[in-house]
Symmetry: C3
Subunit: 336 residues, 3 copies
């Protein structure tokens, strides 16, 4: 499935025009450091300008702001675009079209009573749909997925193999769930009495809005009462834990192995690095940026629009001063 | 499956009596902040007294200690109980009865030679039981579970879909295992020699006592020699790692993403927050409380009955003093 | 399946000779503290000498350097070996032979078009092989595994139940993958533009070299472009995250819940403890040792052959001095 096209054809598909030998045939896409003379690469910012000029790439997507002095780009084709990384993403889709799943239900899939299955759906081998589930148009269910009773999944979703949805899960459209993700398991809720932990029933559910992607082996627990919610366009990496009744806003990005405790609120456009821990009932305000391994204590508020780091998390600058002071401290104390 | 009952009926089922309009029809349960005038909620401690009185909840479970001055609770029904949160758990079970699995073995399940299957067991689609496994009465095996050869599971257990037990796993009664949990995989044991790691065979097993619950995608490794043990009534959250030969006592609670290294001992009634790391051969004494993200070093002892925090973990008070001192330090040093 | 043999027979199989009553019948292997008088145990270093002499073990594997003064080991058989722990691993394999999987393809397995399946392969119930996959000789695929299209697996591999390989994964020989591992899921790559995250296509793949072992529920993402690579002989524990385009060398050991961010490079013979976080584009040089929960910042270099700890990670000695200084600081400041 090898795709080739001229620079002119590619530029046209991206809605731009090309400078240089537009008849050059491109055979693929590659990072700047390895791209060859028939490959497309991209220049993300002017910082990489020298590397881009020195690269062997036959064609480059470059920011509109970069000057086109011909001598500086000997033998290279250039396509100037508003956002080179996004244009590169589009070019990769063109050169690497994803295999289209054949619509249809595999003979070994188990379909419960009263399911509603949209047009163009594909359901893989050994998948199990509980009774009363609904699948929107063109949604693809991978091999070995288990969809609990009365779950609702929108249009154009992609569930990779071996995803579990517990009963009553509600998923929007264009949602991608990776293998091993478990959506809607019981929250960690108990009542301690008479020397033991009694289960506090977890009778809520999980709601995932449109355009969400959830990584491999991540877990999103159902609410104790009411929903756990993931807002539209939010992206969640692998091995992330989202506890019961957490409310996550729209367009957040949450990196691997982060854990968010019960009833925490994450507002829109929050960026969370890997291995972050967020305590129960904490609130992370809009646009906050949480550094790797940091910890937000229970019931605390992380302020909007600023980077935070450390445990307990504080403004990044403050933490960096503390760390530098601590590193010098043995010498500082000796000197006095 | 909408359940309704009068306050009088509910109070009777809980073994208590009600004050107020006991003929009021309740339609459900809800948290204090959202409960409506036909819903039940609860007051956990006297701190929430004002919120409870201001809430719209039609009926409240309240502690016996709270005074019943009628003017303070206009229009509310009250049920006084010893432990409101536990009574609330019971009430939720009454209003949200769980669907009863039909006993029986799905036609697509694979049952190995010589299995012993108790009365009233249900085995879901695509489940695989190895040879010589034993299932107690009324135990439910979800879709796609894989039970290794010669595993033994007690009565009234619930394995959600896609759980794996490796061969020889021993599980008590009333145990709940969530989707994606892997019980009995090989421990991480190697011998370094001649420039490479040689596998140290992991020939032990896992023993899980009665009334344990284990969260989604958690992993509990078999012993290298002998058992890894989880004591009765212990509750383990999602994405937790328990290494080979760990011994966990009874009635512990271990939150998400915590990792416990090989041969560590966790005594009874220990509480462990999220993302805690416990080194190999460490011992956490009875009733210790480990704060989020803290780390117990290998071979160390965490003392009984006290809260610990930080890495390396120390008594919470000491850590708080350190953190405050460090936060002030840049100013402190400037001042001198 | 109880195996018994005399000390003489065991010593011969290990290629050594025995001192003491070589006719003693051994019935099994056990740790030093619990071994009985018909069991084999081992003495790892001279530090455990007294414990070994006081133990009840009938036979001990001991280092060649230990003196054999007969009076010190009353009633014990001794087998002197170059590396007692490795000899113990061999002895355990002798006393606990693993059940041999019957070659063959279970009737419920789904085999895609154009698969090439080697001699002596076993494929378990409900396993799904995509089209064009290749399996080497004697490789075993557990129940419920899903192998994506055009994946290649070498000889003598063992995939435990419920492993997922995404399409195009390449695996060497003698590789062990534990249950729930997900190999080749999309990396966490997006372009932020126009107020939302657009997916950056992940069109690379995963390459796993010979003799690698990967733990339960670990996740290894495919490269965005090009491969994510795991070098020969590297061992990875449970719940570990390896992001897109990470390059891991040979003979590393990576403990549970560690996360390695995109494009990081881990050179040969690196040892990484549990819950470590490694930032994107960081490099960990040959033989470095990373302590539990430590953090390597993005783009940083961790120097070869030394132990590091803390976040941000520094040489272990420096961190220990810092921690001690900080612990004394409240008193130090008061005194002045």
């Amino acid at each position: 499935m090898s795709i080739q096209m001229t620079v002119a054809e590619l530029a046209a598909r991206l809605g731009h025009s090309a400078a240089g030998d537009a008849a050059l045939v491109l055979t693929g896409v590659a990072p700047l450091e390895s791209a060859g003379d028939s490959e497309l690469s991209f220049l993300d910012s002017e910082r990489a300008l020298t590397a881009a000029q020195a690269s062997r790439a036959g064609c480059l997507l470059i920011p509109e702001a970069v000057e086109l002095s011909p001598g500086a780009w000997p033998g290279k084709c250039l396509i100037r675009v508003r956002h080179p990384r996004r244009a590169m993403a589009q070019a990769i889709e063109i050169f690497h079209p994803q295999p289209v799943a054949q619509p249809g239900i595999h003979a070994t899939a188990i379909i419960g009573a009263g399911c509603q299955i949209g047009d163009g759906v594909s359901i893989g081998p050994q998948a199990v749909l509980g009774s009363g589930t609904q699948l929107g148009a063109r949604t693809r269910i991978g091999a070995g997925c288990v969809i609990g009773d009365h779950s609702i999944i929108g249009d154009d979703c992609l569930l990779h193999p071996r995803v579990t949805l517990y009963a009553g899960t509600r998923i929007g459209s264009r949602v991608i769930l990776h293998s091993g993700a478990v959506i809607g398991a019981d929250g960690f809720g108990y009542v301690f009495d008479e020397g033991r932990h009694w289960k506090f029933p977890q009778v809520g559910w999980v709601e995932i809005a449109d355009d969400v992607e959830i990584g491999a082996n991540s877990t999103i627990d159902r609410g104790a009462l009411g929903p756990t919610r993931i807002g539209a366009g939010t992206k969640i990496d692998n091995l992330v834990q989202i506890a019961h009744n957490v409310q996550i806003g729209a367009h957040c990005a949450i990196a691997s192995q982060t854990g968010i405790s019960g009833s925490a609120v994450i507002e829109d456009y929050v960026i969370i690095a890997g291995q972050v821990g967020i305590g129960d009932h904490a609130r992370v305000q809009k646009g906050a940026i949480l550094g790797g391994q940091c910890g937000i204590l229970p019931h605390k508020v992380a302020k909007a629009g600023q980077p935070l780091w450390g445990t307990p998390a504080r403004p990044l600058r403050e933490i960096l001063v503390q760390q530098a002071t601590l590193a010098r401290l043995p010498k500082t104390l000796k000197r006095r």
